[in-house]
Symmetry: C2
Subunit: 205 residues, 2 copies
């Protein structure tokens, strides 16, 4: 485990950038009548070439997001090649909260959450209180780790990372971004999940 992690770090440090493999993950659109929601993962070499597509399902407002994400990563043939996991936001399928610390501990792969909208924690706390008996444990997981702002050419990104430093996370995000603000693996995961469920999607970066 430690060896694999050191290898990854070394690999990244020597900057074989075009070989860096990143998994981007996003959930599909859903309605609250649905029981489960599709989650799509896209493995890309840097931000330019898609090597694989993964799919899982998580329950709406459930508590299986972390477990399903770990399973998706660890059961993949790409596991030993992945340098980072990029996720859009901190939850799948409503308030199915992702425990980034747990996912990193289980996979030993750095995980970075990016979002274009600044999280409104007061609003989130109120929504959790109104809808969940176990709101305190969800809130606790959501509050793990600090969120920092990354400037881009366009709008800022709100980032949280586990398993890498802020500067390394910035490097990874820059490397994976072709156009606009969102890293390509996350944009691709979004466009695929959305297109497959809705019948058509188009992806602005």
């Amino acid at each position: 485990m430690v060896q694999t992690f050191l290898y990854r770090l070394l690999f990244f440090v020597v900057l074989m950038k075009e070989e860096v493999r990143i998994l981007g993950v996003d959930d599909a659109p859903f309605s609250f009548e649905d029981e489960s929601v599709m989650v799509v993962g896209v493995v890309m070499r840097a931000g330019s070439y898609v090597e694989g597509v993964l799919r899982s399902n998580v329950s709406v407002d459930g508590s299986d997001a972390s477990e399903k994400l770990v399973e998706m990563i660890c059961s993949s043939r790409f596991l030993s090649q992945l340098h980072a996991v990029l996720v859009d936001g901190a939850c799948f399928a409503g308030f199915n909260v992702i425990d980034f610390q747990h996912v990193f501990e289980k996979t030993q792969i750095p995980i970075i959450s990016v979002t274009r909208d600044e999280p409104d924690f007061e609003k989130i706390k109120t929504a959790l209180k109104n809808r969940f008996k176990d709101w305190e444990s969800r809130w606790e997981v959501l509050n793990k780790g600090s969120i920092w702002v990354m400037k881009t050419k366009y709008n800022p990104l709100y980032v949280r990372c586990v398993g890498v430093s802020e500067s390394e996370a910035k490097e990874i995000i820059k490397l994976a971004t072709i156009r606009g603000v969102l890293p390509e693996p996350v944009r691709m995961a979004h466009i695929i999940a959305s297109g497959v469920v809705r019948g058509e999607s188009y992806g602005k970066a």
Copy 2:
């Protein structure tokens, strides 16, 4: 209709290649117990940037492939921007045969079928005879237009096209191919359809 077609031709002739939009389409893996099969379309700018993902469903061994493909193309927001449709093979979901002439007439967008395996028409005819009462009409559609071989750096591609000349079809295929043999929009459609249905896919070109 004619105007749109001429515009497309002109656009391609003046070689604004990086702006050429191509739709690649492929079906998902299925078993013969399934009633319908997912078909995925990927809109790419040349072979490099995914702009949209489309999804439809066709019936296993049915007769709705052409109609569903026309619907997918014509209902898409990308319709007026598409320069060509690339399809892997001549059928979806078993022997749900695509009538390329019909699809071109309805959409006015050139359609090109590519496959890496040389079609064995004797074997196909026997399979059709054994499985379908309406084998003759399927056979007739399958035999429309001639198949020609396109040399690549690696293995040859077997190509059929309607709405463009052989040399134009070759240009479009070259433009859309990044690595290996398969044009990128078709490789992407395959990798997405397969990954979403099976849970994991990896795409060799």
